[in-house]
Amino acid sequence: MDPMSRFSVVPSGDESPEGPARPVQLEQLLHRAATGDETAFADLYDAVSSRLFGLVRRVVRDPAQSEEVTQEVFLEIWRHSARFDPSKGAAMSWMLTIAHRKAVDRVRSAEAARNRDEGYGASNQDVTHDSTAEAVVERLDAERVHRALETLTPVQRQALELAYLSGYTHTEVATMLDLPLGTAKTRIRDGLIRLRDTLGVTL
C-alpha cells in the first residue's frame, strides 16, 4: 500500500456539501483528464453525471434534448479540463456552471422554449420533491438546501427557482411573478446572498 494513501482518504474537517472526500477527488480526476486520461474521465463521469444530467434535465425538460446537452457538457468539460482553475471555485461548481449555461442556452432557442412552455404549469411545483438521490449523504445535502431555501422570502425563492431551475431571464421572471422589471434581478440577488450565507458557501 502506498504510504501516502492514508492521508488522502478524508481531508480533515471538511464539511463541504459535496461530502468529505469528493471535491479533492474531482479536482484530481479533472487534472488527470487534462492529460488525456480517459479512465479518469470515466470516473469523473460516474461521480458527477447525475448532478449534471439532473440539472440539465430540470432546465431543458425534454429527455432527448437533455441527453444531447449533457453529452455536449461532458465534451466541454473534457476539452477544457486543463483550464479549470481551483482558485476560482470548486470543481463541481465549475462543471455545474458549464451544464447550466448550456442548458439555458438550449432552452432559450425558440423551438425548445415552445416545447417547454407547454409543460410549465404542471411541473412548476416539483422543485421540492423530485430528488431521486439515493445516498444518505445526498439526502442530507438536499435537506440542507431545502432548509436554506426556507429562509428566503417566498418571492426570492420563486424568483430564484424560475431563474436557476427553469432557465428564465430576470425579465421573464418579473413578468411571471408580476414584479416591476427592476426588482426581479434584485430578488434573485438577495435570495442568492441569503442562500449563500445560510449554506455557509465558501470558495
Binding site: 444530467f53 483550464r83 425558440a110 434581478k185 440577488r189 449554506l199 470558495l203
Partner: protein, 279 residues
C-alpha cells in the same frame, strides 16, 4: 443606461441575463474585482440547488460520452500571463481559441480570459483602424468617450482610452435605437446582431459558437441592399464574442459569417455559416 450594473450580479450568476445584458455585464465584470468575488460566491451558492434535481442519466449516455471524448484532444492550459496571437495575419491558432472554456465559467473563470481576449481583439482592431479611420467610426468613439466620462470615473475613462472597440460595443448595445436580430446557428449556438443606425454600427454577439475548421478563420460581412458583401473584419478566436463589425452598418440588410483562409478574403469564398438578416 446602467443605473447600477452591479445589481445584475445575481441574475448573471444564474444565467438569467439575456445575451446582450450578459455581454455588457461581462465587460463590467472584467474590470470590477468586487463583482468578480460576489459572482463567484453566488454561482457557488446557486449550484448548490442542483442537489435538489439529481437524476441519473440513461445508461447509454456513458458510452456515448466516452466514445466521443476519445476522439477529441483536451485543450492545452491557458498560458498564464498572456498569449497574444504571434502574428495577426494567421489567426488559425486553435489553442488560443476558446479562452473561456465555456461561456460557462460565468463568474469564476470568464472574467480573466475575457480581458485577454479583449486586448487581443483591440490589437487586431488597432491595426485595422490604422488603415482607414472612417468618419462615422470616429464619431462613435467620440460619443462613447463623452458618455462614459459623464457616467463614470477615471477607471472607465482609461478603459476607453485602452480599447475604443469595447467602448463602441457598449455604446451600440446600450443605444436607444439599438435593434437586435438573433439566429440559432447550425451548431446549436446562438448569434445575435445588435445594430444602432444612429451610431452606424453593428455588433455581433456569439455564444458557444464552434471554432472554424483548422487552418481557417471566420470572416464577418455586411451585406448591402444590392446583395454585395463587404468585409467587416475577422472574428477573434473563441466561441463567445462581442465584436464590432467593421464598416458602416446603417444601410446593411444582413450580417454574415463565412469560413475563409487565414487573413480573410476580399469576397466570401464559401456559403455563409451564419446569415443574420436585419429584419
Amino acid at each position: 443606461m446602467s443605473e447600477d450594473i452591479h445589481a445584475l450580479s445575481g441574475a448573471y450568476a444564474v444565467d438569467a441575463l439575456d445575451e446582450i445584458e450578459r455581454a455588457r455585464f461581462e465587460r463590467h465584470l472584467a474590470g470590477c474585482p468586487v463583482c468578480q468575488a460576489e459572482v463567484q460566491s453566488l454561482v457557488a451558492a446557486a449550484n448548490e440547488l442542483s442537489v435538489l434535481t439529481e437524476v441519473g442519466p440513461p445508461a447509454s449516455l456513458r458510452a456515448k460520452v466516452l466514445a466521443e471524448i476519445a476522439t477529441v484532444r483536451p485543450l492545452p492550459p491557458l498560458a498564464a500571463p498572456q498569449e497574444q496571437p504571434a502574428d495577426e495575419g494567421v489567426t488559425s491558432t486553435p489553442p488560443a481559441t476558446a479562452p473561456a472554456p465555456t461561456p460557462s465559467l460565468p463568474a469564476p473563470a470568464a472574467a480573466e480570459p475575457r480581458v485577454e481576449r479583449g486586448d487581443e481583439l483591440a490589437d487586431r482592431r488597432r491595426s485595422r483602424s490604422a488603415r482607414g479611420f472612417a468618419r462615422g467610426w470616429r464619431l462613435v468613439v467620440a460619443a462613447a468617450t463623452v458618455a462614459v466620462l459623464a457616467i463614470g470615473g477615471f477607471t472607465v475613462w482609461r478603459q476607453v482610452e485602452k480599447d475604443p472597440q469595447q467602448a463602441i460595443a457598449d455604446q451600440v448595445l446600450a443605444a436607444p435605437d439599438a435593434m437586435r436580430f438573433g439566429k440559432r446557428l447550425q451548431d446549436g449556438s446562438t448569434a445575435t446582431v445588435v445594430r444602432s443606425t444612429s451610431l452606424q454600427k453593428a455588433v455581433l454577439i456569439t455564444s458557444g459558437m464552434s471554432q472554424p475548421p483548422s487552418g481557417k478563420v471566420f470572416q464577418l460581412w455586411l451585406e448591402d441592399a444590392t446583395g454585395h458583401m463587404a468585409s467587416a473584419g475577422l472574428m477573434p478566436a473563441g466561441g463567445d464574442q462581442v465584436v464590432v463589425l467593421a464598416g458602416d452598418a446603417t444601410h446593411s440588410k444582413a450580417a454574415g459569417v463565412t469560413v475563409e483562409p487565414p487573413g480573410g478574403s476580399d469576397q466570401p469564398t464559401s456559403a455563409p455559416v451564419a446569415l443574420i438578416p436585419f429584419a
